[in-house]
Symmetry: C2
Subunit: 440 residues, 2 copies
């Protein structure tokens, strides 16, 4: 038996399903076009195998690319613009005014592309992005080689690209049509309602109907802060989760982001409606939103993924750091070191996140038939020595340990150099945009 | 006016006192032998300045090397050996048996040197280390070019190098004498009593007397867990802090590590006794020990530094990540995003830590007369773009962004390559030792 492939990764430790399966100590991954065709032990690699390109991963670890379940990529422009402020000051005096003045198609394109550079360099190969002018982000992710769900933002306030909020549903519909017409590989359109407190019931229902008609995912920030819970309770006499449930917004195509403040009943509703949840621990820590009841959600069997949130509130997009924070935060919050083990963090950042986003049959695992999204980590570093166990990927590895990122069968980054697009050009464009922020 | 120096760093953004002073946007640092001789604006650099070596830091950020206030460097061998376990299982089934079998002089030397490699590569130039067989660590830090306080461990159990606990004070005294005789530059001996629950009152008093006689720092783990607080209360009817206070162990030469569980009275005692505190947030999170009342300690004016703790409980020594965790953890714990701003985290990891360790006149700041311990960060990376404010050093920068580390005027690392010693040899030795762990 022999076979030919386009790309062959050999001699690596292969982690096919992080957190779920033990690693293959000396294995290979074969890729034909955009798809994984075989994964196995080197001893079983057919001797006549030929490949157009071979990557020797001896001493390295090969695993699925990470899945960032929630991001506002264009907000890289506001990275560290205003830190350590009270939430309302931060939003109303810094972020909202900066967004009103500086978000444009050009900004969204270059700043999303910068986010793509950062994600690719730190091992993220799939992102679910939610922002305004999302067609620019779609183009940026397409041009950068990333796999992306791009969700057009809907809010009942004047927003970038949609100055008249009465037209926000119409704009979202146009975005989905354009995105579908473009037919870009790896790019899937979706809808993002900002929150239950910034969108009316009518807007929420129209948006969800649109998403359902187009079989799109429906994203929404949910139960992020005490303030939101209080406000929704005052207005509607129930919790944000119950409120969305009553509006028939919660189902297997809804992705609820944050879910920090949940009652046991809320958790039950999320579970029984098959709503997926994306947790963003670093953003919740930095903005002091609170600590999500992740152990309870896991126990309930809710589909869970991990997200970085936007750069204004984190301030980076490195999911290795996010896994570390996720695992450590819930241990101390529960005063129990067995809570949120490294294996769970790895699962949430790979197959768990992919499933939450409806991409479980495309990415998040290394298996024949799945898209070829994988990363190779260099373990030959003091901070990863010795490497007793792959839990160290959570507690020790950094995004900067990623040597190679492959998306859809294409090597988009190798030896820390982005091959898919011009990183320096992207950074230069964003720096120019950032200079304008300070010359107000 | 002209001057000559050994090493001149030019064209950099200079952060002389992180968290306390605004950066110099375009400056230089001049170093003669082991000492900083001048820091200033490029515009004021005397035109006739000559230097044996010049580093161009254009686009880079120059700041003091970080100060790791608490480490067990030799424990790199146990990095990720056993994660996510109940504390007593972790200690009694994994860490203590591994220590009993595998800690030797050779192990302590190579594993401390590996820790030095990791610290130097991530921007730490000074460490306060506490472990057994500490003479081996002293030699490792000397050979690696680091600045270190080396504290010999004292515990009332058989320990590596001290099989008979009745001789633990004697062994510590011999260690200090040897260390003083060696007269190694940058290496300062000290005493480390493991904790109030593993050392008797007699041992604690003898150890503190020895430290006082030798004008040494006295380190101790204090109020780390609920379990410890309960045990000391049951045995002595008071809190661990009160107990040490009653034994006359708390003064300006005592450094209390962790201090997670403190009453307001405890905080007052620490303040009035001028005891310094080192906080290790990531270790406290991973072991689920709890969240230290850092904002209260800061408000009380306690001298505070930041530590990584050992690799068995973190699992890395990167103080950039530790600053990020420190800043984010206390915000969410207090549900207030203004708590523990980035500037405080930067101060604790530099001048604050140096002062807590009694090294404030030697390191932790860039100023004429201080030892030349400084690091240069490459800001030309997507995750640091744009760089609106140096708070991004806490919320965005990683140890891997450090381009150059200088200790005592010597360039020990440049362009991510360790120059002071053979990193590959060190890693090979530790890997060999690690293999033995698995062939039990």
């Amino acid at each position: 038996m022999s076979f030919a492939c386009d790309l062959l990764i050999i001699n690596g430790t292969i982690l096919t399903e992080p957190g779920l399966k033990a690693p293959l100590p000396d294995g290979y991954v074969a890729i034909q076009s955009d798809t994984i065709t075989a994964v196995g032990a080197m001893a079983e690699l057919p001797p006549q195998t030929s490949a157009r390109q071979t990557i020797d991963a001896r001493g390295d670890l090969v695993m699925p690319g990470l899945v960032n379940g929630h991001c506002h990529a264009a907000m890289t422009l506001f990275r560290g613009l205003a830190d350590d402020l009270p939430l309302m000051d931060w939003l109303q005096k810094h972020i909202f005014p900066a967004e009103a003045r500086f978000v444009s198609k050009e900004m969204a394109y270059w700043c999303s592309k910068l986010a793509a550079a950062e994600m690719i360099l730190s091992g993220t190969t799939t992102v679910a992005d939610s922002y305004f002018l999302e067609e620019a982000a779609a183009k940026a992710f397409h041009d950068s080689g990333m796999r992306a769900i791009v969700a057009q933002g809907i809010i009942d306030f004047p927003a970038p690209g949609v100055p008249d909020p009465a037209k926000n549903i119409e704009a979202a519909e146009a975005f989905i049509k354009t995105c579908q017409e473009q037919g870009r590989k790896r790019i899937t359109p979706a809808i993002f309602c900002h929150s239950p407190y910034t969108c009316s019931a009518k807007t929420l229902r129209f948006a969800k109907t649109l998403a359902a008609e187009q079989t799109c995912k429906f994203f929404i920030h949910l139960a992020e802060t005490h303030h939101e819970v209080k406000q929704i309770h005052e207005q509607h006499g129930m919790s944000p989760v119950q409120y969305l449930h009553n509006l028939h917004l919660l189902d297997h195509n809804t992705v609820a982001v944050h879910c920090v403040h949940l009652s046991d009943e809320d958790i039950s509703i999320l579970k029984h409606s098959a709503t997926a949840v994306i947790t963003c621990p670093e953003s919740n820590m930095k903005l002091a939103s609170g600590i999500a009841p992740i152990p309870k959600m896991l126990a309930a069997g809710i589909s869970l993924g991990l997200g970085s949130d936007g750069c204004a509130s984190n301030n980076d997009l490195d999911l290795f750091g996010e896994m570390d924070s996720l695992a450590k935060l819930h241990k101390v919050a529960n005063l129990d070191p067995t809570v949120m083990p490294a294996s769970q963090a790895l699962r949430l950042a790979t197959s768990g996140g992919a499933e939450a986003l409806g991409l479980g049959e495309s990415t998040g695992r290394l298996a024949p038939g799945l898209k070829a999204d994988c990363i190779i980590l260099n373990l030959d570093a003091p901070h990863l020595t010795p490497f007793h166990h792959h839990d160290l990927l959570v507690y020790g590895a950094k995004g900067s340990d990623v040597r190679t990122s492959i998306i859809d069968g294409v090597v988009v980054m190798h030896e820390r150099q982005i091959l898919a697009f011009d990183q320096a050009e992207t950074m230069a464009h964003v720096r120019k945009l950032a200079t304008a922020l300070h010359s107000r």
